[in-house]
Amino acid sequence: MMASSYNAKEEDGRNSNSSTHGGAAVAKSKKPDNTAFKQQRLPAWQPILTAGNVLPAFFVIGLIFIPIGIGLYVTSNNIREIEIDYTGSESGSPCNDCSTNFTWNTTTPCICTVNFTLNQPFEGNVYMYYGLSNFYQNHRRYVKSRDDSQLNGNIKSLKEPSKECEPYRTDPVTKKPIAPCGAIANSLFNDTLELFHNEPNGRTTAVPLAKRGIAWYTDRTVKFRNPVGDNLSEVFKDTEKPMNWMKPVYELDPSDPENNGFINEDFIVWMRTAALPTFRKLYRIIHKNSSSTLTLPSGSYTLKVAYNYPVSSFDGRKRMILSTISWMGGKNPFLGIAYITVGSICFFLGVVLLIIHHKYDSRNNSADIPN
């Protein structure tokens, strides 16, 4: 009994060494195992960073990056994009009146129109964005100010929103919970943009703008859900609309009952807080016209804005952007340029290393290793 327990001790002893097999209680040799691992002799690749060794890597990187960069740059340049700033902070701009007179408390929308021309036709699906500048949607307290479980249709959270929503949690007057609660929802972008094509023949046709499909599919189906109930207005009965809102959440899209409540796509898009203070958000999609090749032919267009969203308090700017997209997203020449630049630098450094290698490496080798 003693012997066996002794062996057991042996094995989980402090020096967890090689003796792992049990046996008689004779003193086993403590000789360490001669394994590559234990003797630290694992086969290893030992790169030595010298100009000569590293040089190919630089050239390879340069040779790969430059074509990629060119490809990206070309792709980005092929994207059609037009930005219309309709902030109206400058006098003389079409929306100046609206911007100066408008506050959150105004109930009637102020309508203004902006005319613009497309010099080149837009092909394929055209994406209509609204863009805001200087809007810090990424502010720490702002980002937190939402209740995901309320937005997911949780009845309990509907009645009692999360504390994170403070101070947009309950209505200060009625004491009813706000749905959707929180600062993000409260500051929902509520300008209405409409696009009209002024055809050369003088007719003005409204460009069909698709409201659906602008939000992430997973957002619309998984993250955002209306509380269970037949009638949305019934479900939201005991709640209050956010303070800055003109319409309650179940009336966001009068035209499409499926697009109301928390699953309204404009709302969902807004709730996905932007990363940077200057951002754009997808507003509508102009689907490719099946009959003609051009979605938006070149020509004159009119943007009709129901100006509801004040930005003067933070010196913000509002834009409407029309853009086609490519496989790599919207227009952004940066990445292409970056690739070209980095590739060139690598190539250049490669050349420098080549010189260094020729001038010093050979000498050094003979010095280090006197053969």
Partner: protein, 1485 residues
């Protein structure tokens, strides 16, 4: 059962002690032990022993309940933990919280729980082993059953009677009451306590000595009073009070300590005195020390800088936020959310809140996982060091032990090594080499040849031993215990309890061998001449005995010879055992027992008056008041009593014959010359004792038995002789000698044989009466012996002198009386005993001297040479005499014949000061002179002195530019004592550190530790102390790293050390390879850690510029928190554990690479900042490339942040890749694992719960990103851009300024034979000390070769010189020819004394003069006075042995009669004082 518990803290013990104190306030300084059986009925209250700790041991730190609070409390001692908890708690404050509070706790909880689990596991293991120990069985007497019954150890209580059988382990500290041994002895093996494998004898208490029948516990009614539990293994005092009121003293000889094993004794009974935690073995259990490594200290500075950076960043963000708020003024934008209370925050308030928030967000900058990672890496490093086959010693089956887990990297940064000599550099296997008897030298040439032969076959022999494993196991034969194997395992286990397992195994293996008995030590080839003489002598004696002639008629030279061998044989403490009867002493007892009464009678009759007075005077002790009341006369040691008795009897009877007995021939069937005789084994406490006994046996003068009162010696022709052992005065380090008093069976004289260090014995030799021939002869012998002693010392032999003295009975009785008084004295007993010994050991008659060789360990010279090349300064501190030490130093290449040697011997403080001053001046003068002659001696440039540790300039400015010359310094203990004085220590250090090697002889343990402390504190260098014996313990403890050699001198050094090695030569690999690796791995890992955290945090910091400094993070909080902990944790651990910058072979062959660690080149302060800058650059890239790529797009916060996280991860991993030097599959795997882990975790996280992870709620983000080509494009370009500068820099550095380490790596890549060629070439080149900026293997190779060749030639010339010097011992200070090594240097100290300007003119003198001058004074000194060490005349001398290969180049520095030197004036007073005693102070050149 004192198992070394590595985790035991002192706290534990302290608390225990406290508890004890609380329990027994009324108990004072003694403990009273009653027998338990008297109180068996009344269990509990009445039992007077109830307060004492029971034998149950509990070494666990925690209980189930106390674990959590106690463990947390301990963990919060680490400041970092408190910091992180603080931050986590900060998250619970709503205004400032940055993360979900629960989530913020995760890392802290994770770290704490990992540590807690580790602690818990360790504690559980302790608990299990405790349990196992507590449930071991032993026999305890039971009153009910009237017999001994089996009990668990934990049930043993103080006051119990335990019965011990052979090979059992003692369960507690037991007072021996009875033994089956007829001599009332009990033999124990104490290997588990002190590592000594020889058997110790323990004696039954005097009062129970004469019990004829077995000890009956029922009759026991005495009370024992003894000291309180303490940890002094070598002390036990107390007394036993019998019912009759009689008191008997108790000594450590009566105490059997827990953990020891009973040997050679069938049965023994004892009473438990100390149990459980109060046993001496348990009290001796010290946990490992906590040391903080240099690297860690450096790291802590940078952690501090990180804190500063963190605060600056937070402050910046706070100010930014305030300004950002301020610019909006009153018109609050919609995105500026009010505080939860709905109040508007002023910019200043929100800035303050933001500051706290930022601290939380940026907390990662202080690397929480760094501390844990370092610990893990260190554990792995220790594991690999343990596993290293090269550090495994097959002979002793022991390997490296790391006892301090947290200073592995210090091994790579050592600058000074302090080494013990005996047992560390040498084997501590003593081999008898030669001897001189009565002035005649017996050179033992055959013996020398034999030893040389052993040296040659040594390696083969080692192999044989290890493979065959056929070493005779002493206890495998003849043991009649059926359960022997079980018991054996008992014993092994017991070893483990005291020490670590490794020690235990070592001990158990050692116990299988006979201690100190390799064939080399045993088989001594006798010198034929001496052998003849011995034979002649003994035959004559036989003849004389037969004819009843007095032995004194023997010619004195013959009698000296026989006495010499008798002294060798009996003047020791060697125990004889026979291999056939394991651990059973061989006995030839002649009955001489006398009743106790006679002793008392005799004492009373002998000195009635003095006895009483003596007892009165000695009873003034304050310590043991009660014990002294008139009972001190009962304290004499048994042997003394019995000898007195015997004396008494003889005086009464007057018969002399009966002590002389010829053994019956039937005894053991052995007669002289029987080959079986050789099978007797000698177990000695010190190896030289055994060596001498074996030597004597070679001359047929063999020790055949030893009993406490009698030694049996077998002599040729005479047969067995019993020497009645009257008294033994044991060896101690102050007296440096031991003596035995015996009654010589042939002459019937009371004879004292003394053996000891020559320096002491020679002073105690009786001055010979001048005039008569006998006196002349005596003087001649004395002189000759002295000469031979010097010669032995010069050969590096350990010398011992043997002397004897004949006492008349009256003299002896007188001495004995006073000695007994001394022994019985309570106060100052040690001093009195010392004086008493001094009285006996005077006026000795010199018999002869022996030279014992202590062989150098294998590979010591090579190790020292390569350590030296590694830039380590090696100081050897030894207790040996100067000549021996110097010769060993030469042998082990510590001193180089090429070097000059500075010898400092001073007699007084002033002289020492003068000497130091002079040496300093000499060094300066020499250095100036050489710089003046620089132009003519350009060829010396290869020997240029090297600057020590340029890094020092940062730590101590005065140390900068200090040059190490090619000088050796030899200093003796006395001078060292003066030099270590406060007033001189600076000067001493200045001298010592400019010397390449320092040798301190005759130094005490205290001096050793003082020296280490001095060097460590004053020079601010990393010190390593290595030693094997108890005398090195203090030094080992003081040094930054203590290394113990698990050698022959027990375990004390190992116990005190941080690392324990089996052999000295393993130090080379330990330092050069493992030290280097550990250091460079850890240094790189720490730097990487700082970089990694800074880089990651900085990304978030840049974002603050784009979120209104609101403390927002685009990186999901989960990623932010687990990034360090999980995603990026493993690769760096693998790299930190496995990375090898240079291969093992190259590191060992190019010791110069070690300088890398010494100068902290892997981790310099600027590197931290470089890394920080790089981190900021990389974070800028990692932030702005995604920024511009996604600028003005519809990307949302976390869809943008997730790629950044991925990019950061890639960048960090590739960065690690650039820094990784060796890629094994584990590196690849870990990196792949990290990436896979991140993506898997992200995918799972982003798919799991659409509402749970507020506020980021990154549902399906990763999945969408993976479909986005932009993501891949970003992940490609960003790491490349971020790492481009570093990669480019590394490549350029590798080509333009390759470090030595890199050159080493390039060597690794070459095929092995090419490499070997290069290394052999480079060794030639690098033979000269490494210059601080090594132009690694520069181009001027051919020149070097020439130079070295010429150097060698000079070296060989020198060799012959040296040999000559050895032949004539009169050449005191060898003025050897050295290649001139005068080094051109930059001036080191601007304020060079004025005289040095003169020195160039004075400096040149011919070497001939120098020779003459040296010889003359030393001749004088020799003739005027023969000291034990005439080689170095006792004068204060500075032997500056200057090289003089070219007359014109020789440098002369002299300060004697020529008055030009301004230092003269200062010297004068000291000189005058010294001149009186000694030949004048001189400086020989």
């Amino acid at each position: 059962m004192a198992r070394e518990r590595s985790e035991d803290t002192g706290m534990d013990k302290a608390s225990k002690a406290k508890r004890q104190r609380k329990k027994k306030p009324k108990e004072h300084k003694t403990r009273t032990v009653h027998a338990n059986i008297l109180y068996d009925r009344a269990k509990g209250e009445e039992n007077p022993n109830r307060h004492y700790a029971n034998n149950k041991i509990k070494t666990t730190k925690y209980t189930v309940l106390s674990f959590l609070p106690k463990n947390l409390f301990e963990q919060f001692h680490r400041f970092a933990n408190v910091y992180f908890v603080f931050i986590a708690l900060l998250n619970f404050v709503p205004v400032v919280n940055a993360f979900q509070p629960e989530l913020a706790l995760a890392p802290v909880v994770f770290i704490l729980s990992v540590t807690a689990i580790k602690d818990l596991w360790e504690d559980y293991r302790r608990h299990r082993s405790d349990k196992e120990i507590n449930h071991m069985d032993c026999l305890v007497y039971s009153r009910e059953e009237k017999r001994y019954v089996e009990r668990y150890w934990k049930e043993v209580r103080v006051g119990d009677f335990v019965k011990l059988r052979c090979n059992e382990i003692l369960p507690a500290d037991v007072l021996l009451l009875s033994s089956s041994d007829p001599d009332r002895l009990c033999h124990i093996e104490t290997a588990t306590l002190d590592g000594e494998t020889n058997l110790k004898q323990r004696q039954v208490i005097r009062s129970f000595f004469d019990l004829d029948c077995d000890f009956d516990p029922l009759k026991y009614s005495s009370i024992i009073e003894c000291e309180k539990p303490n940890n002094d293994l070598n002390r036990f005092r107390g007394y036993i009070i019998h019912r009759s009121g009689r008191r008997d003293a108790l000594y450590k000889e009566n105490l059997l300590l827990r953990g020891c094993t009973v040997r050679n004794t069938e049965e023994a009974v004892g009473i438990v005195i100390y149990a459980g935690h109060e046993t001496k073995a348990m009290l001796n259990n010290n946990g490992p020390r906590y040391k903080r490594s240099k690297l860690e200290r450096q790291m802590n500075v940078d952690v501090f800088w990180c804190v500063i950076i963190l605060l600056v960043m937070c402050l910046f963000a706070a100010v930014g936020h305030g300004l950002w708020m301020f610019q909006y003024g009153d018109k609050r934008p919609v995105f500026d959310v009010l505080s939860p209370e709905g109040t508007d925050l002023s910019p200043i308030m929100s800035a303050i809140y933001l500051f706290l928030t930022m601290i939380i967000v940026f907390q990662v900058l202080i690397p929480i996982s760094l501390f844990v990672s370092i610990e893990i890496v260190k554990i792995c490093q220790v594991y690999f060091m343990h596993q290293d086959m090269d550090l495994y010693d097959e002979e002793t089956d022991s390997q490296l032990q790391c006892r301090a887990l947290n200073i592995t990297e210090d091994l790579g940064q050592m600058q000074y090594i302090f080494s013990d000599k005996t047992g560390t550099l040498t084997e501590n296997k003593m081999v008898f080499r030669r001897c001189t008897v009565a002035g005649v030298e017996y050179s033992h040439d055959a013996n020398a040849r034999r030893i040389a032969m052993y040296q040659e076959i040594d390696s083969e022999e080692e192999e044989c031993l290890s493979h065959g494993g056929t070493l005779p196991r002493r206890d495998s034969v003849g043991s009649h215990h059926s359960g022997r194997v079980v018991l054996r395992s008992h014993s092994t286990k017991s070893h483990r309890r005291t020490g670590s397992r490794a020690e235990a195994k070592r001990a158990s293996i050692l116990s299988k061998h006979t201690a100190f008995s390799s064939p080399m030590e045993k088989d001594i080839t006798p010198d034929p001449q001496l052998l003849d003489k011995v034979n002649e002598c003994s035959s004559q004696m036989d003849f004389m005995r037969f004819h009843r002639q007095p032995m004194s008629q023997l010619p004195s030279d013959l009698s000296d010879i026989i006495d010499f061998f008798i002294a060798l044989t009996i003047c020791n403490t060697v125990v004889v055992s026979s291999p056939n009867q394991p651990r059973h002493k061989v006995r030839t007892r002649f009955e001489l027992k006398s009743p106790v009464k006679t002793i008392e009678d005799f004492i009373k009759r002998f000195t009635p008056s003095r006895l009483t007075s003596g007892s009165n005077s000695s009873s003034s002790s304050s310590l043991n008041r009660s014990s002294n009341k008139g009972c001190s006369s009962l304290l004499p040691s048994p042997s003394a009593e019995s000898t007195l008795t015997k004396l008494n009897e003889e005086q009464l009877s007057g018969t002399l014959e009966h002590t002389f007995t010829i053994d019956p021939p039937s005894y053991d069937g052995k007669t002289s010359g029987n080959p079986e005789e050789g099978e007797l084994r000698y177990e000695a406490e010190s190896p030289d004792e055994a060596a001498l006994v074996y030597a004597a046996r070679a001359y047929k003068c063999s020790l055949v038995g030893r009993l406490p009162d009698q030694v049996t010696v077998e002599l040729p022709h005479l047969g067995k002789l019993n020497f009645e052992l009257l008294h033994t005065l044991g060896f101690d380090s102050t007296r440096k000698r031991m003596s035995v008093v015996v009654r010589h069976p042939l002459t019937d004289q009371i004879t004292v044989y003394t053996k000891g260090a020559d320096s002491v014995i020679m002073d105690l030799i009786k001055p010979s009466e001048t005039g008569n021939s006998k006196g002349k002869r005596q003087k001649k012998i004395f002189c000759r012996t002295q000469n031979y002693l010097n010669q032995y010392a010069a050969d590096g032999l350990r010398t011992l002198c043997i002397a004897k003295k004949v006492l008349s009975k009256e003299e002896y009785a007188r001495w004995l009386q006073r000695h007994l008084e001394a022994e019985t004295a309570i106060q100052g007993r040690e001093e009195l005993l010392f004086e008493s010994a001094l009285r006996l050991e005077t006026n000795l008659h010199l018999l002869g001297a022996t030279g014992i060789e202590d062989r150098l360990q294998d590979g010591v010279p090579e190790t020292i040479a390569s350590l030296r090349k590694a830039g380590l300064q090696i100081w050897v501190l030894t207790g040996d005499k100067q000549e021996t030490a110097v010769n060993i130093a030469y042998a082990c290449k510590l001193l180089d014949p090429d070097e000059e040697m500075l010898t400092l011997n001073a007699d007084s403080q002033e002289a020492c000061a003068v000497l130091l001053e002079e040496s300093l001046h000499y060094i300066q003068a020499k250095f100036l002179c050489s710089s003046g002659d620089q132009s003519t001696k350009t060829f010396n440039s290869n020997l240029e002195p090297f600057e020590i540790y340029p890094s020092l300039s940062t730590s101590s400015s005065h140390a900068a530019h200090f040059l190490v010359h090619r000088l050796g310094l030899v200093i003796d203990g006395r001078t060292l004592a003066y030099a270590l004085d406060k007033s001189l220590e600076d000067k001493f250090l200045a001298v010592a550190r400019s010397c390449r090697s320092v040798l301190c002889c005759r130094s005490t343990p205290l001096q050793k530790s003082m020296l280490v402390k001095l060097v460590r504190n004053k020079l601010k260098v990393m010190t390593l102390a290595i030693g094997d014996g108890a005398n090195d313990v203090s030094m080992i403890q003081v040094a930054d790293v203590g290394v113990g050699i698990s050698g022959q001198e027990g375990m004390q050094a190992v116990m005190a050390s941080d690392f324990a090695l089996p052999r000295f030569r393993y130090l080379q690999k330990l330092l050069l390879v493992h030290g280097h690796w550990c250091y460079s791995r850890l240094a790189n890992m720490i730097l990487y850690f700082f970089y990694k955290n800074a880089m990651f945090v900085a990304i978030v910091f840049w974002y603050q510029f784009y979120c209104g400094f609101s403390g927002s993070a685009m990186i999901d909080q989960w990623y932010l928190i687990f990034f360090n902990l999980m995603f990026s944790a493993f690769p760096q651990l693998i790299t930190g554990t496995l990375d090898k910058d240079v291969s093992e072979e190259t590191l060992q062959q190019l010791p110069q690479l070690y300088v890398n660690g010494q100068n902290s080149e892997e981790y310099k302060p600027y590197m931290f900042w470089m890394n920080m800058i790089d981190a900021f650059y990389q974070s800028l890239v990692c932030f702005f490339i995604p920024y511009f790529a996604y600028a003005d797009s519809d990307v949302d916060l976390f869809t943008w942040g997730t790629p950044i996280t991925a990019i950061a991860l890639f960048t960090i991993l590739v960065h690690l890749g650039i820094e990784t030097k060796t890629w094994t599959w584990m590196n690849w795997l870990s990196i792949a694992f990290s990436v896979a882990l991140f993506f898997t975790a992200a995918l799972c996280y982003n798919a799991s719960c659409p509402t749970c992870y507020s506020p980021s709620n990154p549902y399906w983000t990763m999945q969408r990103l993976l479909q986005d080509p932009l993501f891949y494009l970003l992940c490609t370009i960003t790491p490349v851009t971020a790492l481009l500068p570093r990669y480019f820099y590394r490549a350029c550095q590798g080509t333009l300024f390759p470090s030595p380490v890199q050159a080493g790596r390039q060597l690794d890549k070459l095929p092995s034979d090419t490499r070997r060629n290069i290394l052999s070439l480079s060794r030639v080149k690098m033979g000269s000390p490494l210059s601080p900026e090594p132009h690694f293997l520069s181009l001027n190779k051919p020149k070097d070769c020439q130079k070295s060749a010429s150097k060698e030639k000079q070296g060989s010339v020198l060799q012959t010189n040296k040999e000559k010097g050895q032949k004539s011992p009169l050449v005191s200070s060898r003025c050897e020819k050295h290649p001139t090594d005068l080094h051109p240097q930059a001036p080191s100290e601007p304020n060079i004394p004025s005289y040095s300007r003169n020195s160039p003119q004075l400096s040149c003198r011919s070497s001939k003069d120098c020779l003459d001058e040296t010889l003359q004074p030393s001749d004088q000194s020799l003739s005027s006075r023969i000291t034990s060490t005439p080689l170095v005349s006792r004068a204060d001398s500075i032997h500056l042995n200057l090289p003089a290969d070219r007359a014109s180049q020789s440098v002369k520095y002299t300060r004697s009669s020529e008055g030009e030197l301004c230092s003269d004036q200062r010297v004068q007073p000291a000189q005058r004082t010294l001149q009186a005693a000694e030949p004048g102070l001189h400086t020989a050149l």
